[in-house]
């Protein structure tokens, strides 16, 4: 294993070990995402009708739940590094500093994917959305979308680690930048749950998400060291 990936593995393994012990982040993130989905389902799914939500609402609500719970997870993940200023300790280690970023990113993506495993079936159930008719395409949308969102979020959350108003600043910075990811995720998911699924359209949005991921990841790796060192 190269030195870069060794650091990635060590940092990600540490985050997962802490989370496996406390389950604090997973519980709060899942609870928040579930609350989000349930509240929206009450608003959008009509009583006495055919029980289906309005148009593409399920797709939008799924991605809103991911974005909101992801923001919560990002904030809490870096809150842990704030106690004891351990993020600086990671930056003082001899490995490549972008490897620390990727290690944290892997932890955040893992947490969000675990949350999605719980909320996607719930959205499918409550909104009667046919999310599992094209599982691979859905998995690609969720996977690439989550990586894109987490790429930017991990960079911003790390940058704001020592800022006093970081909880307010994180969504203000994060949401405008990740709007392309959200739009691609929502439209791609909506294309999958149409009465006649638009698979070509879904593939197009997946390719767009992949492009966003490449751009965001490259920019994040490029800028991480300079924004983290004062």
């Amino acid at each position: 294993m190269s030195a870069f990936w060794r650091v990635v593995w060590i940092v990600a393994k540490k985050d997962l070990a802490i989370e496996a012990r406390s389950r604090e982040l997973l519980n709060t993130t899942v609870f928040f995402a579930l609350s989000c989905v349930i509240v929206f389902s009450v608003s959008f799914v009509g009583e006495g009708g055919d029980g289906r939500a309005l148009g593409d609402a399920a797709a939008g609500i799924l991605w809103i739940a991911i974005a909101f719970s992801g923001t919560l997870a990002l904030g809490r993940t870096f809150e842990r590094e704030r106690y004891g200023d351990t993020l600086r300790a990671l930056l003082l280690a001899p490995g490549a500093r972008p490897a620390v970023y990727v290690g944290k990113l892997v932890g955040v993506v893992g947490l969000l994917l675990a949350t999605e495993i719980i909320i996607v079936p719930l959205v499918a159930l409550l909104f009667q959305a046919r999310l599992f008719d094209h599982t691979l395409l859905l998995a690609a949308l969720l996977g690439f979308g989550t990586v894109g969102f987490a790429c930017v979020g991990t960079l911003f959350a790390a940058m704001l680690g020592r800022a006093r108003s970081r909880d307010v600043l994180l969504p203000i910075l994060l949401y405008p930048v990740t709007i392309p990811v959200m739009i691609a995720g929502v439209r791609g998911t909506a294309a999958l749950i149409q009465p006649t699924p638009q698979l070509d359209m879904a593939r197009l949005w997946i390719m767009l998400l992949l492009s966003f991921d490449v751009v965001f990841l490259t920019l994040s790796l490029w800028t991480f060291e300079s924004v983290m060192t004062e």
């Binding site: 540490k14 070990a17 406390s22 106690y83 004891g84 200023d85 930056l91 490549a96 004062e230």
Partner: protein, 238 residues
């Protein structure tokens, strides 16, 4: 690739934060086997200097050489020879003492980190608390553990920011003994402290800073408290 150096050379180092000058044209030479104290009131620039030397911050101007080479020339491997104990201790409270040491040992590429961590726990007098979460430790215990964490990878350059905070008398004596042991092994130690009593006992030289400027270099630390007060009130230059 390993790297080593026997001296640290700081030349005309300045650091500005906007219009505020945290460090102003500071020059200093440190040699292997020397404990150099950084003294000064709050805001004097001690922590900024340690951050720059540790490579966490970049200077606005000036030069820093580790054995004749800059951090840029040496690359990331330089950090494998630097140990840092900051005021925030750099420990994960959700991990046990042993897990913390093993984690940082792995991060620094220390061979056989479990054995090294176990030895470090003994030196920190925490061998019987290795399986306990750090969140349950007192400040003094954390401080001892953090010092061993900073020394796990056998650094050539040790940067200590207020290392005596929270230590009881026995731990202070043990830390002084440990610093002398490191001096004998050729470690360069830069130690920022407000504790002048301890400084008189442990330092080889004292550098007095005020408002980011070097006020004096005291080659003899005997009677340091009196001279420190005089230097600061006079705002004298070396």
């Amino acid at each position: 690739m390993s790297v080593d150096f026997l001296d640290l050379s700081i030349r005309e180092l300045s650091r500005h934060f906007g219009r505020r000058r945290a460090l102003s044209r500071l020059s200093l030479e440190c040699r292997a086997g020397e404990i150099v104290g950084l003294l000064g009131p709050n805001g004097a620039g001690k922590s900024t200097l340690l951050a720059i030397v540790s490579t966490l911050a970049a200077p606005s101007s000036g030069e820093l050489r580790y054995g004749g080479r800059t951090a840029h020339e040496i690359g990331a491997v330089l950090r494998a020879r630097i140990g840092v104990l900051s005021h925030d201790l750099h420990l994960y409270s959700e991990l046990t003492a042993l897990e913390n040491l093993v984690f940082f040992g792995r991060l620094y590429g220390v061979p056989d980190p479990e054995t090294v961590a176990a030895r470090a726990l003994e030196r920190a007098r925490l061998a019987d608390r290795g399986a306990d979460l750090v969140s349950g430790f007192s400040r003094g215990m954390r401080q001892r553990l953090a010092l061993e964490r900073a020394l796990l990878h056998n650094p050539r350059l040790l940067l200590l920011d207020e290392p005596f905070t929270g230590l009881d008398d026995a731990s202070t004596v043990a830390l002084i003994a440990r610093l002398r042991e490191l001096r004998s092994s050729g470690c360069i130690t830069l130690l920022a402290t407000h504790d002048l009593d301890v400084a008189e006992v442990v330092l080889d030289r004292a550098v007095i800073l005020q408002d980011g400027k070097l006020v004096a270099i005291e080659p003899d630390v005997r009677g340091l408290r009196k001279r420190y007060q005089e230097r600061l009130s006079a705002g004298a230059r070396p």
